[in-house]
Amino acid sequence: MICPHCGHDNIPGVDACEVCGQPLSGLDLTTSELERAITEHPVRALVPKKPLTVSGETTVSDAIDAMVQHRIGCLLVEQDGQITGIFTERDVLNRILPDRTNLFSPVSDFMTVSPETISRTDSIAYAMHCMSVGGYRHLPVAGSQGDAIGMISARDLLRYLSIRFADIRDDS
């Protein structure tokens, strides 16, 4: 479980955080199964989808074709193995549709630079926090070198919560 004091990912069930020594046992008493799960389970438990990535020089037109082909609304721009930006269907709505000449410009001109990312070991609760506070629909999952290893969406989170904790698929 993730220590609320220092963030260390402890083995579930330990009494005290092995890094900062703060007691962890009391946490279980006041929270529900859902709260425990989202605090203890890392983002990788959501099985993040593999992200679609392109380089910054890719034209907006090619980026859009790739999004349509993969039936997704968002892609990551990577340079030298690092996430440098995110380009979404909202950028297309706001900045490409009003001026179609932009279709032939590099996607790096229209991406959001240095998007907020999470790591695979961050808790699901933290991912919910980022989306809720930032108002994002997509959160890139970055590896330790800043490389793109996954993408989670608000829909992935809702699906995880509603299947596990509201049994939405268990009744007619």
Binding site: S32, G73, E89, R90, L93, S132, A154, L157, L161, F165
Partner: protein
């Protein structure tokens, strides 16, 4: 709010909350003969990615930014009427439906947004995945808002090692 810690039950929360209790997202309403260009402009105006299409106070379709992305890639003429490219008829919710109904429909149909119809009006707004997520987050606030990034906080090497 009751005193003391209460076991949080997501299913009960979703079952007991009616669509009428949610803050619906108000989206642009278009007529079927308005153009795709007008649909896009109306979405930009409200910073939202969908618009509903109404014909004589009857909800007949929905068009989303995802549709516009695809239509752009296909080279569709954006001066064509929205009725040619909208999803029709859309899956809807009523204000009496529960949040559990909404989540089930989203799961089964793969919908991100569901228009809400009430009485004689064409539509009163939409429920989208973010509306539902925010509602859930509001009900588990201490857990969600007291989060810090693992990457920022984890001590990677023991001090003095």
């Amino acid at each position: 709010m009751p005193d003391g810690p209460v076991e949080f039950d997501l299913r009960r929360l979703l079952q007991q909350t009616h669509v009428s209790e949610l803050t619906l997202t108000v989206v642009p309403l278009l007529s079927p003969d308005q153009t795709l260009e007008a649909a896009a402009a109306s979405m930009r105006e409200v910073s939202h990615g969908s618009a509903l299409v109404c014909d004589a106070d009857q909800l007949v379709g929905i068009i989303t930014e995802r549709d516009l992305l695809r239509l752009l890639a296909e080279g569709k003429d954006f001066d064509s009427p929205v009725s040619e490219s909208m999803t029709s008829p859309p899956q809807t919710l009523s204000t009496d439906d529960t949040l559990l109904d909404a989540v089930r429909l989203m799961d089964r149909g793969g919908y991100r947004r569901l228009p809400v119809v009430e009485g004689d009006a064409c539509a009163v707004g939409i429920v989208d995945v973010k509306t539902v997520m925010n509602y859930v987050v509001e009900h588990v606030p201490t857990t969600v808002y007291n989060q810090a990034s693992h990457a920022l906080l984890t001590v990677r090497h023991a001090e003095g090692a």
